[in-house]
């Protein structure tokens, strides 16, 4: 077992617009405050897949690229992104288990404002 250096990422509304264009997910709850509130959300929220992309960035920062064989999570709590350049911050922490048969499991903890936003986030990587 080894504890990995946590990674913190800033997420702004401009990032979400860029991600919507790149990914094809134009759901307005990720861009429009009024629409988000109309469906009961506290405000504009990040795409779940945006947060998962940050998890992948953290994992590859630890392992190098091209080593992930499995990556999964549940989307349990929305990441609310306020307007303005400051945005919000998402932190990805991880603990790598002992390697077995050339792979190791990284148990992750993904938080925003001190609260966990993903359920059971986990990566399996080639080591």
């Amino acid at each position: 077992m080894s504890t990995l250096e946590p990674r913190t990422f800033t997420v702004t509304r401009a990032d979400l617009v860029a991600y919507a264009n790149a990914s094809g997910d134009q759901n307005p709850i990720h861009q429009d405050e009024d629409v988000a509130k109309s469906v009961g959300l506290p405000g504009v929220i990040a795409h779940g897949m945006f947060t998962m992309a940050l998890v992948a960035r953290a994992v590859e920062s630890w392992t190098g690229p091209g080593r992930v064989v499995e990556l999964g999570c549940k989307f349990t709590k929305p990441v609310v992104v306020p307007a303005g350049d400051a945005g919000t911050e998402v932190t990805v922490a991880g603990t790598m288990g002992d390697p077995s048969d050339g792979v190791a499991t990284i148990a992750l903890e993904v938080t925003c404002g001190g609260e966990k936003v993903l359920g059971a986030p986990r990566a399996v990587v080639r080591v």
């Binding site: 960035r57 999964g72 989307f75």
Partner: protein, 132 residues
């Protein structure tokens, strides 16, 4: 269209073949604050599986705005590379109701131009029962 067990095991239209281009991967990487260095990031195949999901939603006349992403898991046979031409095919592995919502388990296979499996993407789609 009813969201029920009749969806399980049916085949839905595959996504149109999509070439993984450097420009698109760069845009995807930069949108999440990264710097493109030639590699395709692990969550990139969501672009393919979205294509397949849209085809599924369209075929079943399910409204995208009533869908919430419950979970996602990727299993990779190999890293995706720029130049790959990929197609995704979605299947429904289970449907159940919970608290007025329909929970649809999907599995999408992403294959390359030669038909080899590149990535399997399992996703749970939660379809709200009330007004969206």
């Amino acid at each position: 269209m009813p969201i029920d067990q009749s969806l399980v095991g049916r085949e839905f239209p595959s996504s149109a073949p999509r070439e993984v281009t450097e420009d698109h991967v760069r845009a995807f990487v930069e949108a999440t604050g990264g710097e493109y260095a030639g590699q395709v990031p692990p969550t990139y195949p969501i672009v393919l599986t979205f294509d397949a999901m849209f085809a599924f939603l369209d075929a079943e006349q399910i409204d995208l705005h009533r869908i919430v992403h419950g979970d996602q898991k990727f299993t990779y046979e190999r890293p995706i590379e720029v130049g790959d031409v990929l197609t995704a095919t979605l299947g429904v592995s289970g449907v159940r109701s919970l608290g007025g919502a329909d929970i649809i388990r999907t599995t999408s296979e992403v294959r390359d131009a030669g038909g080899a499996l590149v990535c399997t993407a399992a996703a749970t789609l939660v379809h709200g029962g009330g007004a969206a």
